[in-house]
């Protein structure tokens, strides 16, 4: 079975600074997708960034980028120029390749941003 591990329950960052959130996963599959979701206090799940396992290039979305290390099964999220609105829970998630199927989530990490 696939598992996703987020070992840091909480992190804090100074506004305008950079923070990295860690995630590791375990799978025997070669075709899969990885995601980072943001959940603010409103509880809405918001997709931040996705990575296809077959792509070597790390995904980037504005201030958000990932460091995807396939051999190490590591998928960290870097947030640059942190803003107060980035404060939220962040979930790392995995799903098998192919047709849209279930997401397996990590336990999440609470990110606070200090003004």
């Amino acid at each position: 079975a696939q598992t996703v591990t987020q070992s840091q329950p909480e992190m804090s960052v100074q506004e305008a600074e950079t923070v990295t959130l860690s995630c590791t996963y375990d799978t025997s599959e070669s075709d899969y997708y990885l995601f980072w979701y943001k959940q603010p206090p409103s509880r809405q799940m918001i997709l931040v960034i996705r990575q296809e396992a077959y792509k070597q290039q790390n995904a980037t979305e504005n201030r958000f980028s990932v460091n995807f290390q396939k051999a190490a099964k590591s998928f960290s999220l870097k947030i640059s120029d942190s803003q107060l609105g980035d404060a939220a829970m962040y979930f790392c998630a995995y799903r098998l390749g192919g047709a849209n199927s279930k997401l397996t989530f990590g336990k999440g990490i609470t990110l606070s941003v200090r003004p």
Partner: protein, 116 residues
């Protein structure tokens, strides 16, 4: 602005009562998911459907939970009888199975259920 809708947004009920949660997926999405979020277990899949047929409901307690899609625009999750341990936030998500957008699941706002 297409989005997944869920009703009710909040539900408080007493143990033993039936609870029905409803979800309207985004029009055209043929894959619908039910996830549950608790402090202890985090986010976990309960069940999901493709073209209204259940594909995986292994995460759902079969004795009290049931999930259906009466039609393509409505998914329901029922708990009967409800228990305090069912207190959680229940999310519905939808997405296309293949093609454009199939790398993403669009989440509804969730139903916060409290069973007293």
């Amino acid at each position: 602005d297409a989005r997944v809708t869920q009703t009710p947004r909040h539900k408080v009920t007493e143990m033993g009562q039936e609870v029905t949660m409803r979800c309207q997926p985004i029009l055209g999405h043929n894959t619908v998911f039910w996830y549950r979020q608790t402090m202890m277990q985090g986010l976990e899949l309960l069940a999901y459907f493709r073209n209204r047929a259940p594909l995986d409901d292994s995460g759902m307690p079969k004795d009290r939970f049931s999930a259906e899609m009466p039609d393509a625009t409505l998914a329901t999750l029922k708990i009967q009888p409800s228990e305090p341990r069912d207190s959680a936030v229940y999310f519905c998500a939808s997405g296309p199975a293949l093609g454009v957008g199939s790398n993403e699941q669009f989440f509804g706002p969730g139903t916060r259920l409290t069973v007293l």
